[in-house]
């Protein structure tokens, strides 16, 4: 019982991790949003080649994925650097989870704001996608089916509810893992 009370007291004495979660979530959320935007406009402004992705877009996509997944690690690094304390794996996972959620919220919020700034962006992306499919070497029936389903998928991704539904759990899970890795790498380990 004393041990539990001691652990509780120790937890209460530890500094808050919310500033680190907020900083990492906002920074990485902005980067993910900016990179997604660049990917989108690269797609809009490229000539239809029959291929949905150019090498530049693939590089951008991989960067988005890496940045989105490693927010938890940045939060842990900031927390460990700021307070020079030991971080248990469970706490690393929790910080990672909150960072992933914060990152997803920031990204979705900025996406919604951008729709006010450039309301035609989704339509331009849809037009570009259709032009690319038209240029692709596919049978007509298959081409039409791909166009219909891809356009429907792009419209779905525009809804704030769908964005939250898909992004919150995925960024949360990935950052749980990178948060734990961060706790192992940056947190002083307790013996």
């Amino acid at each position: 019982m004393d041990e539990v009370a001691e652990q509780q007291a120790e937890q209460n004495n530890q500094p808050s991790y919310w500033p680190s979660v907020g900083i990492a979530g906002v920074i990485f959320g902005i980067i993910v949003f900016a990179l997604s935007l660049v990917t989108g406009y690269t797609m809009i402004n490229s000539e239809p080649t029959g291929s949905l992705f150019s090498p530049v877009q693939i590089i951008l996509w991989v960067t988005v994925c890496l940045v989105g997944a490693f927010g938890g690690m940045l939060a842990i690094w900031h927390y460990a650097n700021e307070y020079d304390i030991s971080i248990k794996l469970g706490k690393g996972a929790l910080i990672g989870l909150f960072t992933g959620v914060c990152l997803a919220l920031v990204t979705v919020l900025l996406n919604q704001l951008w729709q006010v700034i450039d309301p035609d962006m989704t339509q331009k992306m849809i037009d570009s996608t259709i032009a690319n499919f038209e240029a692709a070497d596919l049978p007509d029936a298959q081409k039409q089916q791909m166009i219909d389903s891809t356009v429907q998928s792009m419209r779905n991704q525009n809804s704030i509810g769908k964005q939250l539904l898909y992004n919150l759990p995925m960024y949360g899970i990935l950052n749980v893992i990178t948060g734990m890795i961060g706790a192992k790498v940056f947190g002083k380990q307790e013996e």
Binding site: S36, L52, V64, S149, S153, Y166, M170
Partner: protein, 150 residues
């Protein structure tokens, strides 16, 4: 064998297995909706390019992630699931294991860059293997954290 933080270990194992199942896409469940609108594809939309030519196919449908991402997710799930067995091995020097994970990350970058610039052509299998090595080496970082032998 002693187990520390079983809830955390079990939760991450469950999440990792669920992620792998979702990543396999609608083909595994013979879903009739076109694959771009399947919920599995929508789930990974912001994390993977999902190019069909770079993905494995099941029942005429591409997986929801590319072969490299599939390798990373399944490699991590496998590595995490094997932690109780791996804890028998004396892989406790963290710096050594961390270096392996960093090297695997670099290998993946080099492989992707080489393919992109036309220096070589990687395949579905080579991308999966390299991704799998990265995912499993990330799980190996936790050897000794959850399971102990006296």
């Amino acid at each position: 064998m002693q187990i520390r933080q079983p809830i955390l270990y079990g939760s991450v194992l469950l999440l990792a297995v669920v992620v792998v199942f979702v990543a396999t896409g609608g083909g595994l469940f013979n879903q009739s909706t076109p694959w771009p609108v399947q919920w599995q594809h929508q789930t990974f939309h912001s994390l993977c390019h999902q190019i069909a030519d770079r993905s494995f196919w099941i029942n005429g449908q591409p997986m929801a992630v590319c072969s490299r991402c599939m390798g990373i997710y399944s490699g991590f799930a496998l590595g995490w699931g094997l932690l109780p067995i791996l804890s028998f091995a004396d892989i406790t020097r963290l710096a050594y294991v961390k270096k392996i994970a960093v090297v695997m990350l670099l290998f993946n970058f080099i492989d992707a860059a080489g393919n992109l610039f036309g220096l070589w052509h990687n395949t579905l299998i080579s991308r999966t293997v390299l991704g799998g090595m990265l995912g499993s080496s990330a799980a190996l970082i936790f050897v000794g954290d959850f399971f102990h032998h006296n």
